[in-house]
Symmetry: C2
């Protein structure tokens, strides 16, 4: 792996870790710090899809109603595949239901592009297997 590729992977790892930390802190500015206005979100609960940053913010409002204080939002496994302009991340994540304290594992895929030298999230796909 080249020095540039290592730097890209490190930058993306930090971005995802900072984003998860912002979720735990219910810090919406932190959650949105590296997100595109055109983000496409496929979330665990409905709706089927959320297009654009305002709809994306709405998915977090929903999560914060469900989650305990502080929220649990932990990265269990993460794999980063980064090119020079496009990258994606796969992860196994865990969170906790604020009502019954049960732990929920979910799958996460993140899609990113580099804009003016900075990685930006343009897609997230969160899900659990269907019953």
């Amino acid at each position: 792996m080249s020095t540039n590729a290592k730097a890209d992977e490190a930058a993306i790892r930090k971005l995802v870790e900072n984003w998860a930390s912002a979720v735990r802190a219910r810090n919406m500015d932190g959650i949105l710090a590296n997100h595109s206005n055109d983000i496409l979100m496929f979330d665990v609960p409905p709706p089927f899809q959320s297009k654009g940053i305002e709809a994306y913010k709405g998915t977090w409002d929903l999560f914060f109603k469900w989650a305990p204080v502080p929220a649990v939002f932990d990265i269990q496994e993460m794999t980063i595949t980064a090119g020079q302009e496009v990258a994606f991340v796969t992860a196994v994540m865990s969170c906790v239901d604020g009502a019954d304290k049960s732990r929920l594992l979910f799958r996460l895929t993140i899609g990113l592009t580099k804009v003016d030298g900075k990685w930006m999230v343009i897609h997230e796909h969160h899900s659990v297997p269907a019953d």
Copy 2:
């Protein structure tokens, strides 16, 4: 968009269309034609994740037991984000339950890398929103 970027996007579009066509035809060789041995699959039904090409094949055996003949597996919307070495695809897909003929819409994200000049699928994430 450069000529190369257009060529990458066109190659990936054809790859995904050919893959979906192979699913409709229950043609496993066609389904696997551009898939990495190391693919990570997050599918609609359990298991939570399937690692490697043998486990990935198993997810299609399960789908073919559920789907009608011929299978329905249609691309409703598709967006391709391609760099020179890494790309991802987001899509809205539809399929049909072989038992009650009900139509199921699902979300799909595909992750690809270019190996020796050829695009290969190393990740798929298929899901429906949780109840």
